[in-house]
């Protein structure tokens, strides 16, 4: 799994400079930490509180003592001390990021679905259903676990 690989890469880059050279990367000091980079455009920062890595393809990962986060072209995910967050398509700016906590009393909202629609989102009627078009995805409203949520349309 790509996300797993990114996390693994970040952990690898937390190793010593000597070990880093074994992986074919150069290093320089930056702030309180070290930046490692390779000739293909990938780079990683290793600091006193964690590590961050970005590949040449723009995918990135960060790991600290408080949790881990990764992102790729499909979205982003984070795992913290006691919760996980996943956001798809358009980052975490909307309220739509589904949050999963362990042992939740209420049924958790599934990843990728959203609970709010931006006020200026274009509205369409598709097969008699009102839909909202947000960042390339058509959503429609349903009640789930007693709340209004917006789920992607399936065609």
């Amino acid at each position: 799994m790509k996300i797993t690989r990114l996390v693994t890469a970040a952990i690898l880059l937390a190793a010593s400079a000597a070990q880093a050279r074994d992986y074919g990367v150069s290093s320089r000091s930056a702030g309180r930490g070290t930046v490692y980079s390779d000739n293909r455009g990938g780079s990683a920062y290793v600091g006193p509180r964690g590590v961050a890595a970005q590949g040449a393809n723009g995918r990135s990962a960060v790991a600290t003592d408080r949790g881990t986060a990764v992102s790729d072209r499909y979205g982003a995910a984070a795992v913290g001390d006691n919760r996980a967050v996943y956001a798809r398509g358009y980052g975490t700016a909307y309220t739509g990021a589904a949050v999963v906590t362990t042992g939740t009393a209420a049924a958790p909202l599934p990843a990728g679905y959203i609970t709010g629609i931006p006020p200026n989102a274009p509205t369409f009627i598709i097969s008699g259903t009102t839909c909202y078009f947000i960042n390339g995805i058509y959503y429609h409203a349903v009640f789930y676990a007693g709340n209004t949520v917006y789920v992607p349309m399936t065609f």
Binding site: T130, V142, F143
Partner: protein
Amino acid sequence: MKPFLLSIGLLATSWLPLSAAAPTGEQLLRQMSARLAGADAFRFEATRDIDAALLPGITLSGKVRIAAVVQRPGKFAAWSESKADSREFIADGHSLTIFDSKKNLYAIVPMPATIDRLIAELDEKYGFTPPLAEFAVSDPYQEFRRQAHTIVFLGREKVGAGIFHLGGVECDHLSLKGKTADAELWIGVKDHLPRKLVATFHRAGHPQVRVNFLAWDLSPRVSSADFIFTPPKGARKIEMWTTAKMRAARRH
């Protein structure tokens, strides 16, 4: 009588009746349950405050004001309102309607005829229960007992008392210990009705649910109109998804 002796005397008289009665948590919970179960119809108002850790992605969050009316055996209506959202839950003995009045959306699904079965089916099939529905079931004692392995009477204290301990309702204070949460419940000494509930969950941060019952009416005027939903102008009917359907959609 000297002031000191008077104080001792007052303390003794206030303590003696309680000691003589020696109620147990079990007895007090059964008393409360019998009072609610014995009412053919009742209304209550409450505030419910839920810590954010218990509301993952849920929009109806934080402090919510709830009003509910119950007509046994099968009619239940609840209105909950917060700053951000408002919901209506109306069960008429045949179907359940949920209405999100802020977004003007509603859903109607068929439901069993009794409140007990309605709550069980909602929980099992749709992953939620209407607000404070555990007080509307035919045997609230069983509902609490299912979740609490230990019930202890802690003593008497006032709920809702103001400055200098004036006003408020004299309550029996119970501690309920459960697998997923511990709860404290305050039951009115005179009317045996729940006045306050604080549940603390066994997880990081010890998030809480706090309920304050503001008013009870066990002889309310209830009409069929209380359980009829008429969609407002422009309201859109949407689907109510089961947890199974949402789980299947998640796999796509």
